[in-house]
Symmetry: C2
Subunit: 280 residues, 2 copies
């Protein structure tokens, strides 16, 4: 694991590392913010999953999260949003698939299945790496934005015992029924739509009736978000939660859009929400 940079932020350290990922079959970069408390004790971890076109850097630069993480004593880990450096055919041609658009799933279709296994990377390989190299507790939570909100919700819904809490900003709530999801899923997962269902938060909620652990969902959504109706569809998630009696706090925030300014405005509330689960 190679340290690429380290910067002092709110008396903690923001570090970027490159490492070889076995499940992605390529070199990957991630960022970790270590709060001041991490110099003397183990700290819990919040995993943040970013949206289309992002890298490990956007959240760390724009969300203003380190201030609160430093106060609470929580580490934040930001993975990249897709495998990198693989140069598959067409991989860099479009903002909404290929590089920058891993969608936090395990691809089944060639050639994507050689690398595009971000689900396994985020759920298993990266947390194992973090535990090996940093003084962190066993507790972690997960959050994300847009495509990363979809990732946070679906990964937590499928693995509720692995996370203390989950939240999302502007998540893609029903990707089997929106243009971004339909495009991505047909390429990465093939045309049999039954194979798509395990990566759709609304459908996972619908099939959760017998689940023993129901991790509550906290979702913030801007009402002036340009992707709200066509791509994000929080109403589908709400309907699924209502019908399945699944705990959801969906907050529609007037005038806010899809940008990091929206995330910055509410990240403190999300961090304090996760702190309840991580530090109790």
């Amino acid at each position: 694991m190679n340290l690429l940079s380290q910067r002092r932020v709110f008396d903690g350290w923001l570090k970027r590392y490159m490492h070889h990922s076995d499940c992605l079959n390529c070199d990957m970069i991630f960022a970790i913010y270590l709060p001041p408390q991490a110099e003397t004790q183990s700290v819990p971890v919040l995993y943040w999953l970013s949206g289309l076109t992002c890298t490990d850097e956007n959240f760390m630069q724009k969300a203003g999260a380190q201030r609160v993480a430093a106060e609470l004593g929580i580490a934040i880990v930001c993975p990249d949003t897709s495998p990198r450096g693989t140069d598959l055919p067409g991989e860099h041609d479009s903002y909404d698939f290929g590089s920058g658009a891993g969608f936090y799933l395990n691809a089944t279709q060639a050639p994507w299945n050689q690398h595009y296994n971000m689900y396994d990377y985020v759920l298993d390989e990266l947390p194992q790496l973090i535990k090996t190299h940093f003084l962190v507790t066993d507790r972690c939570s997960i959050s994300g934005h847009s495509m990363g909100g979809h990732g946070a919700l679906t990964i937590a819904l499928k693995n509720p015992d692995r996370y203390g809490s989950v939240s999302a900003f502007s998540p893609i709530c029903h990707p089997t029924q929106c243009p971004w999801g339909e495009k991505i899923f047909s390429i990465y997962l093939g045309n049999d739509k039954r194979n798509w269902e395990q990566y759709d938060a609304s459908l996972l909620v619908s099939s959760s009736a017998t689940a023993t652990t129901k991790l509550p969902l906290l979702v913030d959504q801007g009402e002036a978000d340009e992707f709200l109706i066509e791509q994000l569809q929080p109403s589908a998630l709400k309907q699924a939660c209502d019908e399945a009696n699944y705990p959801l706090t969906l907050r529609l925030q007037p005038n806010y859009d899809h940008s990091y300014f929206f995330i910055a405005s509410f990240i403190e509330e999300h961090l304090r929400y996760h702190a309840k689960a991580l530090l109790s």
Copy 2:
């Protein structure tokens, strides 16, 4: 004045405008953050001057300042860092002069003197525009980073009655004696170094013995800043202030570098410092 965009941030509005600048003789973009209080009352203004290569956007995206500005009820105005769209010979060839490197002075040398009058723009034209179009009080303060820290210090030192307070992050303190300043000043101001002195904070302090108003200077400087010794030289400013008995609070912050992560870590303290002058 054309509104380019508006985004909700911490229950206020971040707006970007394009307008024609008479003193720069080109179209310019600036950003203004209007806190929630601005919907019902006049608010004071903090002018923020950014560093080399920046635009009106860097500070607004990365400093995390809107949270505190929204709490305090202070507007923030970020001008661009140079004239734009003028395409003078060589203007875009180098990161440290021409576009993105206006240095907050009035150029005297052709062809730069046709456009490069950022001193007049920041001191007079932009504040007049702000007063005309927004509900702001007569009180304002000024701050900035690196080249913009130089701008904030020199503009405030030359016009102490125009600002309630001044602060700077990692300012270029003695530009007549550093590579960035020597290059810029010779191009914009010519080779007679006497004409450079009015844009050097350390020299302005040295010649301030008879000034009736001595605006205290607050300066934060990271000790791990890669430009500290060769370009920024806070020790020169400190020596000048000591010798002239000029009020300076210079804080050397261990481990911090030149990045916006440093600014984000201390911007709240600067905003509360300015609030004392702006809201008292």
